[in-house]
Amino acid sequence: MSVETVESSTGPTPRKGISILFGLTLLGLLLFLWLLLGFATNSFWTPNNISNLLRQGAMTAILAVGQTFVIITAGIDLSVGAVVGFTSVIVAWLLAAGVPLWLALIATLAIGVLIGAFHAFGIVRMGLPPFIITLATLTSLRGIGLLITNGSTISITNEAFTNFSRADFLGVPSLFWMVIVVAVPAYVFLHLSRFGRYLFAVGSNSEAARLSGVNVNRTIYLAYILSSTCAAFVGLLLASRIGIGNATQAEGWELQAIASSVIGGTSLFGAVGSVHGPLLGAFILATINNGANLMNVNSFWQRIITGLLIIVIVYFDQLRRRGER
């Protein structure tokens, strides 16, 4: 008798409709912020600032998409910021050693794959909680990166590589194009392929998924590998942008990524999430930072505002979910 709940009275409640609505609310919030800043400052709607904003948000957005895959399986990846810093060192180091650019890029992404596989190994085979294993790699990777660089930074002299992040394509910063390059396949993967369905199923009830023939372990490997690979990709972008490899870069970006994902409607309990949500979340955060800078708000206040925003948005999301039951 314990499973006795009864049909909801809400009539046809296509979940999809609600999730689109929520997406629109976020989009509305983003546009509202843009309008507001447009009125409040003279410099917001300048091409220069918009480009800057898109660049600022791009890297968090990519991290947030990868993070979302993991959170949907009811896990967490705390290592992404450290992976960004670490892989920026790796690519700089490889380039400094004279490795051809294409090989350096592939090798760096492969390192991302390996880190993700290691996380999944720890979770699946060693039975470690995701929080613990990714916390452990967070600190270890920073350490390894510092060992490699001996505590300093490695400059990147490859012009083709460093010019990439400053380039525009069709008037839009190339970094923002990279968001699209990641988001489109991510959308196909999460919402249109069976592996996406498996991520949700594992996050909802891994035992039920297993008994339905889903390879749960493989699904977990997939999620963590995708997250770390996205992080390695961001490591490349960051190295290109700042022109150095530095293991201490991207401090706290994992929290930015998690915050973007959660603002975008991802449930930390698993089985709820999308690709467009975290993207919007990331650009909302970027807009707040950007706007605060333009309005000369103390950067300490930015942190406080970001924290409050997370509470408010997630609280409203919770209300919405409760209403759905």
Binding site: E7, R197, A208, G213, R325
Partner: protein
């Protein structure tokens, strides 16, 4: 013998406002109490009276509204309409705290205590003995041990709760409720997980509480317990209160007739088919929780596995399905020796499992019905890289229609469905995947009578198409009436096998409990 209520302390404020109800007078009266979940009437207007100091049994099938009634009385859910009088005064019973503070308490079938704390800590949880802000652990352990010994429970108060059996935990939960100045104690199918000896200890406790003036509501499927304990019995059927009888003025036949309002033949739809080829044969199969199980299932027959909870039937099913590693024995599938080392392998051979617990094993509750139904078949629905969304939708809608799953849309979450509809989703998963051998583990627990009959008719359709079925149930009439062969499990072993109706209920039961 110390009064139980004296052991607990500071409970004066919990008893009703100073005027105890004399024995035999109404302590709790329900007038047209009603509960709706949306359009579904879980409890139709019920008018009942509970008399102070009586043991009042409530019987009814799964889904009859017993759980709803308990939740209403304990303040877990709010009523839709109706009045409740407690000691003659109207009360809201809107929150669990309100119910507890009035002295209404329940012991649930599934223990809701803290498994990592000690027995004593659980018994005193929320009401710890303190001295200057520090807990008096020793004193609490001693007091708890005193209560347990006094009850003859033979349980260590210092042990960690989780290390006890579920039955023992239930006794602890009961002792806890007994200590807390409870005036009105509800037992929700308390003996489901208890051994015989534990049941007897529980009955002694119930009689003792009754002698101390506590009103007991006792909910059970087991009519023999009702006749042993109760003074009066009320029957619920499909959310309706269909009658209350004094125990001396009724008998089992009348209660059954009230509970189901139809004959056994009408419920247990059974068609006999000629058994075909052997689908699966196990020889000496051994794994975690079961040992040396040899049986065969042929096409067109239902093989029933009966036993008490924990007898190893579900473990055997999970072992056969590749969920657990087998340590010995062989499996032959259609005459060919096979190694089933993963769920995927079992599915590919043609085995489907509708597992015991819908909540823990069967469903992704916070995902849509459609996704749940399609979960085993996404591979088939994939074209190239992506899922064919039209086929995905059509497949889900077909199962929803064929199985008459009552939902406005395939996008509704599985958690919003009633037990019966949830079970249909689990079954729908496997109908869309297709299989030759269907294992149904407790398919009708928490399922309403109508759905039950539908499920049994579905069994017949599957058999007709040449499938075989393993039916696991703790409800003897179900396996007894439906099985072509009935195997009895006890402590992980197969201890008896019978043909259709070749043994009596008593014989089967005796084998299952080892009497």
């Amino acid at each position: 013998m110390i009064g139980l209520q004296e052991v607990g302390h500071r409970h004066e404020q919990r008893t009703p406002a100073g005027h105890p109800v004399p024995k035999g007078e109404p302590i709790l009266e329900l007038y047209s109490l009603r509960k709706n979940y949306g359009a579904v009437e879980a409890l139709k207007p019920a008018t009942m009276t509970f008399l102070s100091g009586e043991v009042h049994a409530i019987v009814g099938e799964n889904g009859a509204g017993k759980s709803t009634l308990i939740k209403l009385l304990t303040g877990v859910i709010a009523r839709t309409s109706g009045d409740v009088l407690w000691c003659g005064e109207p009360v809201q019973l809107a929150t669990p705290n309100e119910a507890i503070s009035r002295g209404i308490n329940a012991v649930h079938q599934e223990v809701v205590l803290c498994p990592h704390l000690s027995v004593a800590a659980n018994m005193f949880l929320g009401d710890e003995m303190n001295r200057r802000g520090l807990m008096r652990k020793r004193a609490m352990t001693d007091a708890a041990q005193g209560v347990l010994d006094d009850l003859g429970f033979n349980l260590p108060a210092g042990a960690v709760l989780g290390s006890l059996t579920i039955g023992q935990q239930q006794l602890v939960a009961t002792a806890r409720a007994a200590m807390r100045g409870t005036q009105f104690l509800i037992f929700d199918e308390p003996t489901a997980y208890l051994t015989r000896q534990e049941s007897e200890q529980l009955f002694r406790l119930i009689r003792r509480l009754q002698s101390e003036g506590v009103t007991i509501v006792y909910i059970s499927h087991r009519l023999e317990e009702v006749f042993e304990l109760a003074d009066r019995v009320s029957v619920l059927r499909d959310g309706t209160h269909v009658g209350t009888r004094a125990i001396g003025e009724t008998n089992e036949a009348e209660l059954i007739a009230l509970m189901i309002n139809r004959t056994i033949e009408q419920i247990y739809h059974k068609e006999h088919f000629t058994a075909g080829e052997t689908l699966v044969e196990t020889r000496g199969l051994t794994g975690p929780g079961f040992a040396d199980v040899s049986l065969t299932v042929r096409a067109g027959e239902i093989v029933g596995l009966y036993g008490l909870i924990g007898a190893g039937r579900s473990e055997f099913a999970l072992g056969l399905y590749g969920r657990h590693r087998l340590s010995a024995g062989e499996v032959f599938w259609q005459g060919r020796k096979v190694e089933i080392d993963s769920e995927r392998k079992a599915m590919e051979l043609g085995i489907a499992l509708a597992p015991e617990s819908r909540r823990d094993q069967g469903l992704c509750l916070n995902l849509p019905i459609g996704l749940n139904i399609n979960l085993p078949v996404f591979r088939k629905l994939t074209r190239g890289l992506t899922i064919n969304r039209a086929e995905e939708a059509a497949n889900a809608d077909r199962q929803i229609r064929d199985l008459k799953i009552k939902t406005p849309s395939r996008r509704v979450l599985a958690s919003a469905m009633s037990g019966g509809n949830q079970q249909k989703i689990v079954i729908g998963k496997w109908l869309s995947h297709g299989a030759k051998l269907f294992i149904f583990d407790e398919p009708t627990v928490g399922v309403d009578v109508g759905t039950k009959a539908e499920i049994y008719r579905l069994f017949a359709r599957l058999l007709e198409k040449g499938a075989g079925i393993i039916l696991i149930s703790s409800y003897l009439p179900e396996v007894y009436e439906l099985s072509d062969r009935l195997h009895v499990f006890r402590q992980g072993r197969l201890v008896g096998s019978h043909g259709y109706h070749t043994a009596s209920h008593e014989e089967v039961l005796a084998q299952a409990i080892g009497a």
